[in-house]
């Protein structure tokens, strides 16, 4: 018998749906646990410019890096995957800096003390700057962190990667823009 939809029935239905959805998500989480995240999106658009001040007080703008391949990594101190990828970023930056590649870390949705603690912990040697109003993140269309953009010598974003980068993929993507 299909009765009328009373508020009570509706609420019961919503409860069942909610529980089912939660369980599905948890099962999926458990199943996918071992699979590494792979998510790189090829794009082709002019990289939005930015002008920030690094944590060390130095000016940092995209305009000043014109003609050089740039890796822009958005991070925050509370983000666990950002901690996972931090050593890989530093290592690949050390390997590729001689080829003129520039790495830029942009810290979003964070507090300064926490961000500084993060920098003390991982000691990245490439410039890192806070984006306190989130303007750069909005310009780049960042939806979650970590998110990394690969900008070629012409200043075009040719790839965007969402999620923590492994050293291997990072190296391959840097190769692409350093050509």
């Amino acid at each position: 018998m299909i009765g009328t939809l009373t508020p009570r029935r509706a609420a019961t239905g919503v409860a069942w749906l909610g529980v089912a959805a939660l369980l599905i998500v948890l099962v999926a989480g458990l199943v996918r646990q071992s699979r590494p995240p792979v998510a790189s999106i090829r794009t082709d658009r002019i990289a939005p410019g930015f002008a920030l001040t690094t944590f060390d007080g130095q000016p940092l703008s995209l305009a000043s890096l014109a003609g050089r391949p740039v890796v822009v990594n958005f991070w925050a101190s509370w983000c666990v995957p950002c901690r996972e990828e931090a050593p890989a970023l530093e290592r690949v930056w050390q390997e590729s800096r001689d080829r003129g590649v520039v790495f830029v870390g942009i810290d979003i949705q964070d507090t300064e003390p926490a961000a500084r603690a993060f920098l003390r912990e991982f000691r990245p040697s490439y410039p890192n700057a806070p984006d306190p109003r989130g303007e750069v993140a909005i310009d780049y269309g960042v939806v979650g962190i970590p998110e990394t953009f690969f900008i070629n010598r012409e200043g075009r974003i040719i790839r965007k990667y969402v999620g923590p980068l492994s050293e291997t993929s990072l190296r391959a993507f840097v190769q692409e823009i350093a050509r």
Binding site: L23, I24, A28, R32, P37, V38, A39, V80, P113, A114
Partner: protein, 662 residues
């Protein structure tokens, strides 16, 4: 010892499974012997699980490293209390501890209820023993603490350095017992649903148990915050980490339940809601354990991934679906006896409080499982962090605290506007005065001002309530102290509740102070060099090194002065633990005071004797712990029996009143 432990666990598993079936069959068929037998199974399970715990503790205390679990978590150099605490430091041991507290709680509850609640007890027994059987199955067959090594190592690995701390003696046992204790109200709710005895009986039977569970879980969370504050060395006490959230979630829904249940007792409303809240709270406790143990969400609580994930998820699915199924089945019989008469009534405000609590719980759950959702939807794990929680939950908490002032002073059923204005004129004025005073004193951040004003409002309402009650008794001839004690004893639940509210206000003030007015400096100091931070002058006195068994500690003492007055010495330390040399643990140099805490973390040093520090001034943090103590005191008052509940002959009680009046 290992054999004894495993035999005890397996015997307990068989007995609890038997007891669960016997309780229900005995009740349905009316076989008194079988019912009695099921109760004996409860006592026997409790005894056997206690025996298993004793066997494991004994193995730790006697350093029996032939047991893998003991060898991996303790070493000869550890102190005895910590060695014994190491028993719940890992997965198998913490599950054993969970099972043990559950077994003890079950025994107490069944013992107390066996004559008074003959119809509910069989189903309560069955539910609790069912949960117990699940845990014992995991302990017996999936992850057992009694696995033996093929050889006996000379010494164990020792405890993870982060756990090597006094907090280990309190935080895990309280939190795990808090999780386990919500099984009791859940079992009563299930019994009510199974038997169809859906009136107030189960609610009255579980009132104190729910309050105690709430208290233990709340304390577990607070001690966790305190622990994080003094060992993690990032200057904070709460980071919205998924595992912290997992232990906060059942507390939120449990708190909502403690409030909404009053409406059911008083007005016969919200029956479905209360059942749903209890089901939710228990399942969130299971969910919390699942999150911690399965590794589906990465967290600073770096527990290794393990095989228990799928079992836990299966159990969660089973309890959630069967409880929801029962609730749906009983819906036709869960009719409210009353309607909400007016939006200006205590019921309405309590309901709003519940909606806000669930809002916070949902936002927190959503944030915690967002990595999973985003992975399912878009294939990418994306995490959200403190900014999300602060933005979403911050304003909700302000609303919640405001309601804490409003709801208790609003009459049931219907309040007249005039009466509300009369009740709240005083506290609202106080809030306004505090806000203006705050602006004058230099508080410029709007959220902080709002927070402080709302807290002042609540304090105003609580003081007014106490003053009113005490004055009445005082006029009747009691002295001031006698009047206060008498007031609380007459209605401990109400006044215990006010004490808890006062504790929450203190916690809120501490959060506002430390979140909006924290100062941080990152410095390198040579011996004898001074740092000025906030009101303090801090002088670094030079590094030294201490060696204690199992640890090498680098000590940096600092002398603290305020305006030239010497306040004392703090010592910021890094400890290197044997077998864990690459994970030094931080010991914060802490000078705590009612105005603020000076919080010094040693970060590094060089061969010239210069040392790096991060120094924080954290305003008001001490009030967080004082508020926590008040929370505990209030909860203890609220579970105490009211004067009229005690078995005093009526004549003597009347005589007592007469004497106090005369």
């Amino acid at each position: 010892m290992a054999d004894l432990g495993i035999i005890a666990l397996l015997a307990a598993l068989v007995l609890s499974a038997y007891g669960a079936v016997a309780a229900v069959v005995g009740h349905r068929r009316g076989i008194a012997g079988l019912r009695l037998s099921s109760q004996r199974a409860v006592w026997a399970t409790a005894a056997l699980v206690t025996l298993a715990v004793a066997a494991l503790v004994y193995a730790f205390a006697t350093r029996d490293f032939s047991i893998r679990y003991v060898a991996e978590r303790s070493s000869r150099s550890m102190s005895l209390p910590l060695t014994i605490a190491a028993f719940y430091s890992g997965q198998a041991g913490s599950l054993l501890y969970w099972a043990w507290t559950l077994a003890l709680f079950t025994a107490v509850v069944i013992w107390r209820g066996r004559h008074r609640l003959p119809n509910l007890v069989p189903y309560v027994t069955a539910t609790l023993l069912g949960i117990q059987a699940f845990l014992l199955f995991i302990l017996g067959f999936v992850t057992t603490p009694f696995e033996q090594l093929p050889f006996t190592p000379a010494d164990g690995l020792g405890l993870n350095p982060l756990l090597n701390d006094g907090g280990m003696l309190l935080h895990p046992p309280l939190l795990l017992a808090g999780y386990a204790s919500w099984s009791i109200p859940f079992a009563f709710a299930m019994a009510a649903l199974l038997t169809g005895r859906l009136d107030g009986e189960w609610v009255r039977a579980t009132r104190r148990y729910a309050l105690i569970a709430w208290m233990i879980l709340g304390l577990g969370n607070l001690v966790g915050a305190w622990w994080a504050y003094h060992v993690l060395g990032w200057g904070g006490y709460w980071g919205w980490d998924p595992v912290e959230n997992a232990s906060f979630l059942p507390w939120l829904t449990g708190t909502a339940y403690l409030h909404s249940v009053m409406i059911q007792e008083r007005r016969g409303m919200l029956k479905i809601w209360n059942l749903a809240l209890i089901i939710l709270t228990f399942n969130l406790a299971i969910f919390g354990t699942f999150i911690v143990r399965s590794g589906v969400i990465s967290s600073v609580h770096a527990f290794s991934q393990s095989a228990v994930g799928p079992y836990y998820l299966g159990f969660l699915a089973f309890t959630l679906l069967s409880a929801l199924g029962l609730l749906t089945y009983r819906l036709p019989r869960l009719r409210a006896e009353n309607q909400i008469d007016s939006f200006l009534s205590r019921e309405a405000f309590f309901l709003l409080n519940n909606v806000v609590f669930l809002g916070i719980a949902f936002a927190t759950l959503w944030g915690s499982i967002y990595p999973l959702i985003s992975e399912v939807v878009s294939g990418v794990k994306v995490t959200v962090g403190p900014p999300y929680y602060n933005q979403v939950n911050g304003p909700l908490f302000v609303v919640l605290i405001a309601l804490m002032g409003i709801a208790p002073l609003t009459p049931w059923r219907r309040a007249s506007r005039a009466r509300l204005v009369a009740s709240f004129a005083g506290p609202a004025t106080l809030a306004l005065v505090v806000a203006v005073g705050g602006v004058v004193a230099g508080l410029q951040k709007p959220p902080a001002l709002v927070g402080v004003a709302v807290c002042a409002f609540v304090v105003g309402t609580i003081v007014m309530e106490f003053a009113r009650g005490v004055r009445t008794r005082w006029r009747a001839g009691c002295d001031l102290l006698g009047a206060t004690v008498g007031l609380v004893r007459a209605n401990p639940r109400r006044y215990g509740g006010y004490l808890i509210h006062l504790g929450v206000v203190l916690i809120a003030l501490a959060v506002v102070g430390s979140r909006f007015y924290q100062t941080e400096r990152d410095v390198t100091l040579a011996p004898g060099e001074e740092l000025r931070i906030g009101p303090y002058q801090v002088t670094f006195l030079g590094l030294s090194e201490e060696v204690v068994p199992g640890q090498r500690i680098v000590v940096a003492p600092l002398a603290v002065r305020e305006g030239g007055r010497y306040l004392g010495e703090v010592s910021a330390e890094k400890a290197y633990h044997r077998n864990y040399e690459n994970q030094p643990s931080t010991r914060v140099g802490l000078l705590s005071g009612p105005r603020d805490d000076l919080y010094v973390v040693l970060t590094g040093w060089d061969e010239t004797g210069r040392a790096g520090f991060v120094v924080f001034v954290n305003p008001l943090v001490m009030w967080l712990w004082i508020g926590g103590a008040l929370l505990l005191a209030g909860a203890l008052v609220a579970v105490a029996p009211a004067a009229w509940e005690q078995h005093v002959p009526a004549a003597r009680r009347v005589a007592g009143v007469v004497r106090s009046v005369g």
